[in-house]
Symmetry: C2
Subunit: 336 residues, 2 copies
DNA sequence: TTGTATGCGTTATCAC
DNA sequence: GTGATAACGCATACAA
């Protein structure tokens, strides 16, 4: 796979490499004739600049490193689409890495991104990440970083997330307004940001409507956990009249558990999930959803990052950007 | 984001860059003391080799370019996981690109991969790709390429696919054996390889059992098409007693259409889809599936490609590797 | 308007 | 064992 280089063009046209280089970049100091000559030759022999050499020379790669826990997850793949779209518009390419929810993989992956000289990093933290000191040191070294979705308060970088609090609040409020009183919350690992924000929204809504917060109605699960059936069964012993599930997988598992027990939705128990699965509404027409603005999160995060990269304004402190979720009520859950 | 370089180490330790380079690569010609000195310093100041410089020098990037139509598709994201796993084991990294089912995007993306000096390419063709001449010329230039899933007969490169013929045959056979006679086939664009292979399997099974092939029972759809409802309705006018759907989306749409019309599955109509959606079985316990070995396809394809890259044996002609699918019958579709 | 020289970080080929 | 030097492909400061 050897391609033609500037040197080849220079030799063929009996010019110097610098002239060719300038002609190719359409520099004003090159005569029109020479430009034409070079450009024609380049096109004819399909010259393509070696981006590796360019990166080395210019000390920038025009690559954004994206680290997500999993690609095989509709939310993240949509976020990536958003990132890609925004990056494409501004001449950047996206290098995708997966941490597989493992802190070690996240580190390996982070180092790769740095070794490959990514111009900036877009990160959604793995669920097993508690130590962000490497990220902190990177940030101190002025590597542009933007966190999205799963963020960390210990890092002083721009963050783009769904309005998790608002989404959980709205969902809970909806359940309360339609007559529910014992709203269970089944959620993901307790130490990641989105869990806490959603829990806070859930709790705030309960308190707002004078319903006490009952920790017996809240259960945490692991991402790795394959079977959440037992946890749901355990919750069911608390006789809830509604579920707020913090992920696609949990919502769907709830659905399965309720069906298995012939518990009617929404007649007996209401179900709202934080779900972005495209077929969710087909699963059961009564599965309501807090839909996350995945594309928008990706777009915003990429824009933030590229702004950071290009301005190099380390003063630019945008802080947290929170994008509204959308509550899609698929069937009235009003108690009759 | 400036990291320490070999030069920095050399200066600090009053050595030459070549000595440092050799010490870092643990060359036998460097004295143990010097090695220790260099290695200690490197570790202390967290030296990391610049992969861009390395790539330029060695004319290889240890990067595999992967081009898929869409990431937000369970099949492809699983394939990517398989690729990543295999690549990781052999010291390669994966650069993921999406063609978004567009030929133009595929070209842009292809050029990016080349410009970034990917050591080899793993490609699943976009559905709008009919012209493979660029790929042909790349292949002639000895760029290692392996196709997977959506392949092309015009390209003389190794291919890794599901056994689409076998999968469709087995599914159709199952339907026939359980008493179905009018088996409709709703499928994806006609000109991509998997469509033709699946159609051939479907047809072969019909003929094997003495059922004629009726083209009125076959319908093609586009990937871009948002609403396939009309096509399904059209098929329903042919009074089929079974559906073989060629994708997740089509299977799910069939399901929705049947439910809407209160057509019982499998009592009235049987449904088998080429589906890998994790929640498919929850959608309807009667939705049977031809499951594709996504992980395995990814692994095999990556291994093939890395073999190609490393042996540089352009004689190595493995041809087509076809990995069995799995027919998962979720409810007996026997006619009573 | 064009050419010469230098450097990005690394490795390889020579010397010594 | 170690060091000087060149080279990968490109871009630019400086000459001419």
């Amino acid at each position: 796979m050897d391609s033609i280089t500037i040197k080849d063009i220079a030799r063929a046209l009996d010019l110097s490499t610098s002239t060719v280089s300038r002609a190719l970049r359409d520099s004003y100091e090159i005569s029109p004739e020479t430009k034409r000559l070079v450009l024609d030759y380049a096109k004819q022999f399909n010259y393509r600049p070696n981006q590796i050499a360019r990166s080395l020379k210019e000390n920038r790669s025009r690559i954004i490193g994206v680290i997500v826990p999993q690609i095989a997850n509709n939310f993240f793949s949509e976020v990536i689409n958003g990132i890609e779209a925004a990056a494409y518009l501004r001449g950047y390419y996206v290098f995708i890495f997966q941490s597989h929810e493992s802190y070690e993989r996240e580190l390996v992956t982070l180092r790769q991104a740095i070794d490959r000289k990514a111009d900036g990093l877009l990160i959604s933290l793995s669920s097993s990440t508690s130590d962000v000191s490497l990220l902190q040191s990177l940030q101190e070294k002025k590597l542009p970083i933007v966190l999205f979705d799963r963020v960390s308060a210990e890092l002083d970088v721009p963050c783009v997330t769904s309005d998790n609090f608002g989404g959980a609040f709205a969902a809970t409020e909806h359940l309360i307004e339609t007559g529910r009183r014992r709203i269970a919350h089944i959620t993901i690992p307790s130490y990641i940001s989105i869990t806490q924000e959603r829990l806070a929204g859930y709790r705030a809504a309960l308190e707002r409507y004078g319903l006490g917060y009952d920790e017996n109605l809240v259960r945490y699960t692991d991402f790795g956990q394959t079977d959440v059936g037992p946890v749901i069964n355990d919750l069911l012993t608390q006789a809830p009249d509604a579920f707020l599930a913090a992920s696609d997988r949990l919502a769907i598992s709830c659905l399965a558990a309720l069906k298995k027990r012939n518990i009617a939705i929404p007649e007996t128990v209401s179900l709202v999930g934080f779900t972005n699965t495209p077929v969710a509404d087909l699963l059961d027409p009564a599965l309501s959803a807090v839909e996350q603005p995945a594309l928008e999160i990706g777009r915003m995060a990429a824009q933030q990052l590229i702004d950071l990269i290009e301005m190099k304004a380390d003063t630019l402190r945008v802080g947290r950007i929170s994008i509204p979720t959308r509550l899609v009520v698929r069937a009235s859950s009003r108690l009759t």
